[in-house]
Every structure is written in C-alpha cells, then in structure tokens.
C-alpha cells in the first residue's frame, strides 16, 4: 500500500515540478506548485513526519503560495512584460546541466544500493516519532538557540519586506 501511494505521489510531484518550470504564464506555475506541495506532504506523511507534513501544507501551500498568487495578481503581467525566454539551444544546455546535477546524486546512491544491497532495514522508530510533542521537545531543549535565532531572521524579513515595498525607499 505504501509503495502504491509513494509511486503515485512521486509521479504527481515530478510532473507538477516539471509544469512549474515549463509553463509560460506564472499563474499556471503557481497552481502546479500547490499540487507539488500537496504531493510532497503525502510523501512526508509516509516517511512518518506528520507534523512536518502539516507545516508543509500550512506554510508552503498556505502562506508562500498565497504570497506568490498575490504578487502575480498585483503585477498583472501582460504578454510583453513576461520576460524574453532564451532560445532552444540555451534551454537544452540548461537541461543537460540540470540532468548532470541529478546524476551526481543518483549515480552514487545507486552504487551504494547495489554495493550494500540497499540502505539496510528500517530502523525501529520510537513511539510518536515525528509528532508535535517529540519535535516540540527537541526544538525547546536541544535546538533552543537556533529556534530563537529564527525569530530574529523572521523579524529581519518582516522589516525588510515592509521597507522594500514602501513607495519611496
């Protein structure tokens, strides 16, 4: 059952990721991005990360996507404002470069798979792995400092985006 769901979710993820980078109109890209985030959340659930899956839907599917859609609406791009796309040869070069990047990971992973007969059996997980209380405990004890520093980053982002969007900077 897990295999089936994983296969379906990864196909959805890959195809919608392709749609994001190939659509000319950014609104279609944004809609494909929703699909991508949804598929990835399903995979996170399968990987026993329910809290992260929820956050994925709320933060990415909710906040970030809405931000993108707002900006797309706000700019209301006309055809001539979309930006001149590069020619086919440049795109082919980019595809080859990106494919080489993927092979850099896939080849060693596959080599490890054949050499070690896979990555070994599943580790047995503690009860409630990936639940809110486990993650919350880790965030407020072991990772308390990074967690607090995050708030400074968010503050900087808030002030920065408000300043940048003012009429006269």
């Amino acid at each position: 059952m897990d295999d089936l769901i994983f296969t379906a979710a990864s196909i959805v993820c890959f195809l919608s990721a392709l749609a994001v980078v190939t659509r000319k109109n950014p609104i279609y890209s944004a809609v494909s991005l929703i699909l991508f985030f949804g598929g990835l959340a399903v995979i996170f659930l399968l990987l026993r990360a329910p809290f992260v899956a929820g956050m994925q839907l709320i933060v990415y599917g909710g906040a970030i996507l809405v931000l993108f859609l707002f900006v797309i609406m706000l700019l209301n791009l006309r055809e001539e404002e979309l930006g001149k796309e590069k020619g086919g040869r440049f795109k082919a070069f980019a595809a080859v470069a990106a494919g080489a990047l993927a092979l850099l990971v896939i080849v060693p992973v596959m080599a490890a798979e054949t050499a070690r007969d896979g990555f070994g059996p599943l580790a047995s997980l503690p009860d409630g792995f990936g639940s809110v209380d486990h993650l919350g405990l880790a965030l407020f004890t072991q990772f308390a400092l990074p967690f607090e520093v995050t708030s400074v980053l968010l503050l900087a982002a808030i002030v920065g985006s408000v300043m940048l969007s003012k009429k006269h900077v």
Binding site: I5, F6, F14, V20, V21, R23, P26, S29, L33, F36, L40, F44, L46, L47, A49, V52, Q56, V59, Y60, I64, L67, F68, V71, L75, L77, E81, L82, G83, K84, E85, F90, A94, A95, A97, L101, A102, L104, V105, V109, M110, A112, E113, F119, A123, L125, P126, F129, G130, L135, L137, A138, L139, F143, L154, A156, A157, G160, S161, V162, L164
Partner: protein
C-alpha cells in the same frame, strides 16, 4: 518501491528540475518558484534520512533532528520568498519587467 534510495532519487530529480528552472527561465517569479522546488527537494532528503537513520544517529532528540532542520528550512524559505517578492515589486515599479536581463541598474 518505497525505499530510501527512491526517496533520494526523487529528491535529486526535483532538485534538477528546480535548477533547470533557475538557469533556463527568464521570469523572476518562476525563478523564485524554482528555488522553492530546490529547497523542497532537500527537505525530502532530510525527512527520508531522519526516517531511516535518525533514531540511530541522533538518539538525544529521539531521531527528529532532520525534521527540526526541515522546519528551519521552511522559515528561511518563507523569509526568502517574502523579501524576494518585495524586491521584485520594487523593481517592477520602475522597470515594468520581470526579466532579470532588464535589471542592470548597477551597470556603469
């Protein structure tokens, strides 16, 4: 098949798609979305490794270190998008273009 290997391969493929988007597209909105794709691909690797090796390698946090890192990545991604889109709007006001090729304000 639902294995760590396949999760990593999927992650690499999505990362490559995102990298292609950043290299090939000439629309800052779509380039930002491609950056999101790349960040999400890395998140997938983190979650997969946390699932398979987390509790063996990081017993102190009962194996959730990878998931905590993903939460941090989400914060950074949200901040990056907010600032990136604010910059885009500020630039669009003056230039009426989302083509990074038109953004040559610093050229002498």
């Amino acid at each position: 098949m639902f294995t760590l290997t396949n999760c990593l391969v999927l992650s690499a493929l999505i990362f490559a798609v995102g990298a292609y988007g950043v290299i090939a597209r000439r629309n800052i909105l779509i380039m930002l979305m491609s950056v999101e794709l790349m960040l999400n691909a890395v998140n997938l690797s983190f979650i997969a490794f946390a699932r398979y090796y987390g509790s063996a390698l990081a017993p102190a946090s009962s194996g959730t270190t990878g998931q905590v890192f993903v939460l941090m990545t989400m914060v950074v991604a949200a901040a990056e998008v907010a600032v990136g889109l604010a910059i885009l709007i500020a630039l669009f006001r003056g230039r009426h273009s989302v083509d990074p090729g038109d953004l040559d304000l610093l050229k002498g």
